[in-house]
Amino acid sequence: MKKLINNPDDVLREQLEGMQLAHHDLIHIHLDPAFITRKEATPKGKVALISGGGSGHEPMHGGFVGYGMLDAACPGEIFTSPTPDQMYEAGKAVEAGAGILNLVKNYTGDVMNFEMAADMLMADGIKVQNLIIDDDVAVKDSLYTAGRRGVGTTVLMEKIVGAAAEDGYTLEQLSTLARKVNRYGRSMGMALTSCITPANGSPSFEIGDDEMEIGIGIHGEPGIQREKMKTVDEITEMMTLGILEDPAYHRQLRAWSPEKGEWIDVAETDEPFGSGDQVIAFVNSMGGTPVSELYGVYRKMNEIIEKKGLTVVRNLIGPYITSLEMQGCSITLLKADEEILKYWDAPAHTPALRKGM
């Protein structure tokens, strides 16, 4: 393992310390438990937006804390969900009377830890809603799996919902928007190489010089399928069609019912993309793939999308939701209506994403 690190046990703390030093004008990093907040307190009456998950996906989530996006982020150990005390302390630190919306990627660990944290916060009288993001079309069924994973839509969600929170949305309005973004967003990823967590020191899977993994998540796990290496046009076609041709997807997602006072399963159904749709396209590097190659992906993706009668109206290209130094990419398409575009275009100022200010 060759990495720019010291002792593997200290990696997370040291990197957070470096981030604090680098971005002290924007954020404040708390250790023990670890969470990242904006430098300025949440304005009274603004819903506090919190996300978190395992580390190793930088800049997500800590890099998206700041005006127009998150109020707090909770980094777990590398590829391991954060613990409830992190979200509890973060929640208490940033809540400002209008409640908390937690953006949770759909992994068993994340869902359960955020649920426990919500229970703890609600016991303190704070309104909390957990929004589960599950956008990975590589996972086909939801009955025999833990359901679709939360991947690229998360980044777009944090931008859009963050801007709406800034604009005064209530917790209920914000949850409704977030559910829509989740229904409208779909992703698929692939890997050329594996990655190495500092704690393990060896690759999370072995892969040949002429092979790739299709349908990966973001935790260095192998994908749904291994294939012989192909051209970027073929790979992009496989991913783009995988997203565009995915049929309606039905599932039950956990949510807190304030009426019943308990966690319930809420039915959600995506409609597939269709001709005439406007989309925000997000071409993401898994960490080790340079932006130049992402432009090659973008080129073919755009061609396929246009051929299907859709239009890319906005885009985001770069390493935003990564798996350490893994080489590979993911594509996320988000159907964009007026509300979504308005908040996509709104200003943001965070360590990793800045626009309009």
């Binding site: 150990e77 025999y144 935790h219 192998p222």
Partner: protein, 208 residues
């Protein structure tokens, strides 16, 4: 009878066994998960191990609750809330007690396992830690003779249950994403659960 000091010895042994098997459990999780289960268990029980001396005065309920809180705030991932809830629910059945007879032990185990089911919504055969815990509880309850034998049988059943996860297709947790590719691998959580129960049986044999 299982005394508090048996349980403290047990938790100390868990710390040792997860330290020893950190790499092994992580390897199992590399095959069908995200390569962290050994690290998670080690991190959690290392912290528990450090706190044991300061917990000597508490009753069993308080001891198990303290373990629960530590696991919840250090393990993370799926196993953190699951094992945390296991200890939390178990603690509820042991509050005020300083030793456990066979019936009490069964209730404690059952409550803990109920917590895992409640939290994770998995069932037997989903290729999870429940595939070690459920047969273990069954074996414990159906052992007529003494507590020690019951614990031994439970540990045996858990180990067999963990082995039996190999041919299963995972339906919960991260391994479920692999579908058919999850077959042929032992579930890491079932393996760590079997270790925990084996250490319990061994600790109960000691002086108290």
């Amino acid at each position: 009878m299982i005394t508090k000091s048996h349980l403290i010895e047990w938790l100390r042994a868990c710390d040792a066994i997860y330290t020893e098997n950190k790499t092994y459990l992580t390897q199992l999780d590399t095959a069908i998960g995200d390569a962290d289960h050994g690290n998670n268990m080690h991190r959690g029980f290392r912290k528990v191990g450090e706190q044991l001396d300061s917990l000597a005065d508490k009753d069993i309920g308080a001891l198990l609750k303290a373990v629960a809180m530590t696991l919840i705030s250090t393990v993370g991932g799926a196993s953190g809330p699951l094992y945390g809830t296991f200890f939390l629910q178990a603690a509820g059945k042991a509050s005020g007690l300083n030793e456990l007879n066979a019936a009490q032990m069964a209730d404690v185990l059952e409550a803990g396992i109920g917590g895992i089911k409640m939290r994770g919504k998995a069932s037997a055969g989903d290729k999870t830690m429940l595939d070690a815990f459920i047969p273990a509880l069954e074996a414990f309850r159906t052992t007529p003779d003494d507590l020690q034998t019951a614990l031994n049988n439970a540990a045996d059943a858990a180990e067999k249950g963990a082995e039996d996860t190999i041919p299963l297709i995972a339906r919960k947790g991260r391994a479920s994403y692999l579908g058919e590719r999850s077959r042929g691998h032992k579930d890491p959580g079932a393996t760590s659960a079997a270790m925990m129960l084996r250490e319990l049986a061994k600790a109960a044999e000691g002086d108290a």
